[in-house]
Subunit: 184 residues, 2 copies
C-alpha cells in the first residue's frame, strides 16, 4: 500500500479512536474525524464509504490481531498438556486485553463498549466453536451445542464488561478464576 495512503488511514483510525473514547459513536461526525485526522474531506471518503464501515474496519484491525495471536497459543496449548493451566486460552485473552495494546481498553471502557464487545463476541464464537472439545467442561447432552458455544462466548464478553466497569482492579488470573467458576 502506498505510504501516503497508509498514513491517511492510520490518521483516520487514530482520530476516530480518540473520539470514540470520549463521545458517543452516533454523535461523532465525519467532519470531526477529518478535523482531528487533519486530512481533506475527499480523502476520507476515498478510504471509507461510511462511518459504519470505518467502525467495522477498526474492529477488525483490533480483534483480528488478538485472535490471531491467541490462536497460535491455542494450537500449541492444544497439544501441550503439561502447561500450567490447560484452559489458558481465556487467560491469554484477559492478559492480552489488560496490556491495552492499540488502546483497546480505552475503547472497551468507553460509552461505546457495546459496539466493540459485539464484534469481539463474533470472533469469540468462532474460536470457541473450533476448540470446544478441548475445554474441560462437562457438556449436558440435552443442550444444543450451538447454545453452549454462545453461552460461553457471551459469558466471556460479560466478564470483560464487568471487569472494565469495575476499573479492572482484579488481575487477569483472578478474572479467569471468576470466569471458570460460573462456566463450570
Amino acid at each position: 500500500m502506498d505510504r501516503r495512503r497508509r498514513k491517511s488511514r492510520e490518521a483516520i483510525f487514530a482520530a476516530f479512536s480518540e473520539l470514540l473514547s470520549k463521545k458517543n459513536f452516533s454523535q461523532i461526525t465525519v467532519g470531526e474525524i477529518i478535523e482531528h485526522a487533519d486530512i481533506g474531506r475527499a480523502t476520507f471518503y476515498s478510504h471509507f464509504e461510511t462511518k459504519d464501515y470505518l467502525l467495522k474496519e477498526l474492529c477488525e484491525e483490533l480483534f483480528c490481531h488478538i485472535f490471531d495471536s491467541t490462536k497460535e497459543h491455542g494450537h500449541t496449548h492444544r497439544h501441550i498438556f503439561d502447561c500450567d493451566a490447560p484452559d489458558s486460552v481465556f487467560l491469554h485473552l484477559f492478559q492480552h486485553l489488560s496490556r491495552n495494546d492499540n488502546h483497546i481498553l480505552d475503547l472497551l471502557s468507553s460509552q461505546n463498549n457495546d459496539l466493540f464487545l459485539r464484534y469481539f463476541k463474533v470472533g469469540l464464537v468462532d474460536l470457541i466453536e473450533s476448540q470446544l472439545e478441548t475445554f474441560e467442561i462437562r457438556i449436558p447432552a440435552e443442550l444444543p451445542r450451538n447454545f453452549l458455544v454462545n453461552h460461553i462466548a457471551a459469558t466471556f464478553v460479560e466478564t470483560v464488561r464487568w471487569w472494565v466497569e469495575n476499573k479492572m482492579q482484579e488481575s487477569p488470573e483472578l478474572i479467569t478464576k471468576y470466569f471458570f467458576l460460573v462456566i463450570h
Copy 2:
C-alpha cells in the same frame, strides 16, 4: 394527560416501533417518524427532545410493564413454595416474551435487538439483585455477589437473544430448562 397528547404520544410510539422492526435505529429519521405517525413536526419535538429520548421512553414503557407484572408473581412465589417450579420467575419472563405483547418480539428480533436487550438487562439486574437469595443456586464464596448477579442477568439476556435468533422454535419451558442448565 390530555387525550390529544396521549393520542399523539401513542401514534409516535407505534410509528417508531414499526420503523424499528424494519430498519436500523440510526437510519430512522425524525421526518419518517412524523410521516408515519401523521403528526406535525412541532408536535414531535414538543413530546421528545431527541430520537434517543424517544427510544428510552419506549423501552421504559415496554419493560416496566413486564417487570411490574413479574414482580407481583415473584412476591407470591417467594412465599408459596408448593408452586410447581419455584424458579418460575424466569419461566414467567420467557412466557411473557413469547406472548409478544406490545410487539416486543418484533423489536427483539429486529436488527436493533441490542438496544432493547441492553435496557432489558438493566431491569433484570435489579430484579435478580433483590431476589438472589430465593434462587436455588449454590453461590461460590469466592465470587463477588455483584459478579454473579451480572452473570445471571447476562445469561438470561443471551438466552433470549439465542432464542429469537433461532426463530423461537423452542417452548418457554424448554428454554427455561436450557437456562437453568447453564446457570446451575
